[in-house]
Amino acid sequence: MSWILPPSASTFASDIDFLYYVILWITGIAFVIVEVGLVVFIVKYRARPGRKAEYIQGSTKAEVIWTAIPAVTVVVIGLMSGGVWNDVKGRNSVPAGAIPYGVHAQQFEWQISYRGPDGQLGTGDDFTVRNQLHIPVNQPVVMRLTAEDVIHSLFIPAFRVKQDAMPGMTINVWFEATRVGEFEIACAELCGIGHTTMGATVTVHTADDYQRWLADRAAAADR
């Protein structure tokens, strides 16, 4: 029953997680104030013989205070969020030199395309692998996300990545993995009967292992 986010493995994950914890603390404090306040009022102001309620219509001062404090709080959260949003999803957020991959979502699998030896995605020497994304660690990568049929959503929980795949659009999704290992990909938008089976894996390699994998796979992959 944890409120702690699972371990992360990407560069911007820490920014997102930080925002989450800030909001968790703020909403947690508000939660305690209101719920404890309600309990106190329930006990303190319950009807007892001989008591009368106080005929109070309101208080302008109170209204100003409890309008201003929430307003300032949410604006601050908004401003903090704006910076992170721009870094992750902004128009110019994809770092220069990010390695491109094609991610084509369809019912019910992910077709991942890798650029071939010519270093260009979208040329004849590209190769495609089903449901397996292999990337190097500590290197920005960008998925050119497309969809074949209906809306899907690329969700990589450990990287704090999520982006809907929209038929008719190509959407850039960038991230940079910080740890070697295997992480899961899920589809996060209802896409039909097989929505639950659209799991895939992202394997993060060291730079050398990645080159080795590329070489092996380029030779033996489905074209």
């Binding site: 309600l38 009022f41 008719g168 896409c191």
Partner: protein
Amino acid sequence: MATTALPLEKTTHATHEMSFVRKYIFSTDHKIIGIQFLLMSFVFLLFGGLMAMMMRWQLGFPDQPLPAGQLLPETMAPGGFLLPEFYNSLVTMHGTIMVFFAIMPLLVGVFGNFLIPLKIGAPDMAFPRLNMASFWIALTAGILIMAGFFVEGGAAGAGWTSYAPLSASPEWTGVVGGQQLWLVSLAVVGLASILGATNYITTVVNMRAPGMTWFRLPLSIWALFVTAILVLLAIPILSGAAIMLFFDQTIGTHFFDPTDGGQPLMWQHLFWYFGHPEVYILILPAMGFVSDIIANASRKPVFGYHSMVYALISIAFLGWIVWGHHMFMSGMNPTLGMAFMMSTMIIAVPSAIKVFNWMGTMWRGNIMFHVPMLHSVAFVSMFVIGGLSGVFMASPPVDIYFHDTYFIVAHLHYVLFGGSLFAIFGAVTFWYPKMFGKLMNPLLGKIHFWLTFVFYNLTFFPMHNLGVGGHMRRIYDPSQYEFLQPLAPLNTFITVSALLLFAAQIPFAVNFIMSWFNGEEAGENPWNDNGLEWIVPSPAPHGNFAELPIVYRGPYEFSSPLVEEDFLPQTRKLDSDTEPAAASAAE
């Protein structure tokens, strides 16, 4: 039932005796229509709840066949094991039925109808026959949508949000007739809602009794009035969108099909442009009822009545400019995301104001914890949770993680069930005597409340944690994912709690039915409340008021220094009161 009173103005049904059918089946009396909506909605609440139980069984006990599951056909659950396509239909229909055929009619169709004329001092709605039509059209829509389960391909299965292209073609869902019936049903119930809204707005504007000025209206009526305006303006957007999707499905149009120029994203914009005002339609009336009930129970005026009205109005206005927060991950321009984030953050403020004002109403009160008050306090405590969880999703970067997870499911159920449904239970209990002339049994009421409150929180609070763990929504089989496997015990716990929550509604059903026949007779004003409905007999008679009511003050004059009693009805004339001008206006 009580005697028929003489109506004030010319209505189509004066003092003649009517047949049973004209009086109770094809009735134009707003109170009977309200009760018809009540019975219809409870049936759909039951259907929606059963669907949720089936979904929870799949998530909690995927290896066990559904109890009595063998009764379901092979196309849904062979051997009692749900098929993925049937699970998707359940997800879709649970949401659709709860929103359009349970909560909306309960809040607006029941209480809009029952309360508005009574609480403003009118003999009936402005258009009684149109009102009757609204009910029968809504019921027809309900039958149409359930018919989806009985056609080939099953019921709609693209989610209650019906995103295109998934929903636009049977090629993607396997569902044919079911998806079309879904759209037709929504267009039909939409018409019923629009006609109802027209009626409510006209009635509140034009038929208030003398002295019932705008700022003497109870907050329940303010909320219903503002909600009716939202219904009037938002539902037609859904109707338009539904028609376009229906044409995509049937006559080959391409509104949402990306080949040759259609735009799937346009469905989302249209749907949520309706959808966000819709969620305020689903909460504002509940807020209104809770305000009335908390003031009554606390024996104190509502704290900050004017602020409460302005908060209602600003929520309604702001509700039109936040729709994109449902679409942060959709691929729309990220700059739009920033704009919607700011408007969404701001809309949290009027809701916060209301929470503090409810607490202010209880502060220094002399609180009676009758059953409606229990539900109302629970409303405040759980609406707060729902509202606070919304702040996470309002931040687009944090929404990256939480979008389409159980964190959202927790949020929406805290506002819709923890909020609206608890308010509905409170409101039904509070106004039951005026509807049926009997009081609901308080002991059964308390048992129902506590069981529901406990099991409700045990069911839905852990869903926040599922979301924190990354658990996606609308997932038939989470065990496919290694990262979700550790959450399986939590899913089972939630399922058990949900089953107990469902069972906990039995005392309410028993109470509702039994009290109708054997309940304690209610007097005119069992809650010592100030509203106009409490000056007429219980149950309220046809035509409502024997004489034109004259209003001298606002609805929340509890513990007033002017009188000995701790309540002062709106229509009670004190020596210091003057007649309102409208009372003696020329014909």
